[in-house]
Amino acid sequence: MKSLTILFRHAPHSTAHGREGLDLALLSASFEQTVRLIFVDEGVLHLIDNQDSELIGTKDYIATLKALPLYDIEEVYACQQSCMDLSLDPAALRFNAQPLLAKEISQQLSVANEVLVF
C-alpha cells in the first residue's frame, strides 16, 4: 500500500484538472491506498461553499467531494497563504479542509510515496 498525495492547483470548472484529479483520488482510495488531498493556489476555490457550476454548463463534480469520508479520505488540506491571497477565510472552507502553512505542505509532500499534481 502506498500513500498518494494529490495536489489541486487549478481553479475549478474552467478546466478538467480538478475533476480528473478527484476521479483519481476516489479510485485510488477504493484500491485502499492512503490518499491525501492538498488544495493550493487557485485550487483552494474548490472549497468555497454554495457553488452552482451547472449554471455555467459544467457538471457539479465538486459535490463528489462530499463522498470523501465514504472513501476513507480524511486528510484534506488547504494552503493558508493561497486562501489569504484570494480573501478566503481558511476557517470557513468546506469538507473540513485544514489550513496548512507552506512548510507544512512541503513536509506532507516529502512523506508521500507519490505526489500527483492537477
Partner: protein, 142 residues
Amino acid sequence: MVPSGAILFLGNHMSKIIIVVNGSVYGATASRRALKYTQAALTEGHEITRVFFYQDGVYNTSALVSPASDEFDLVQEWQQLAQAHDVELVNCVSAALRRGVLSAQDAQENQKEQYNLAKGFQMGGLGELVTGIEASERMVSF
C-alpha cells in the same frame, strides 16, 4: 514536472518506473519529454512498468493524428517504443472517451460509426494507474 537530473538521481540502481503522460500530443512539449525520458530510462537499463495516458495525454493515442511529413510523429514513436521494448501503453478510458478517442469496442458500445485508437495502445482504467504505481518504485509524470 520532472526534476532536472531525474535520471542521474536514479543512479546505478535499476528502477521500476511508471510514466504518466498528461500532456497533449500537439501544442505542448510534455508528451515529447515523456517519450524522451522513457527512451532514456530504457537505454539506461531501467524497467518501465507501464506508460499511462491520462487527461490530455490520451490525444497521444489517436490514430488520426497526422503531422506533416517533416515533423515529429509522436504516436508512431510511442508505437515503436512499445514494440521494441515490450512496454504497455494504457489509456484511461473515461478520459479518452470524453476527448473522442475510442477503441473499436468503445465505438460499438457508444453507437459511434468510427473508432480511432491507434495500434499498440490499449484502453484501461485509472485502476491500472494505481496498480502500476503500486508495482513501481517511482512514478514520473509529464
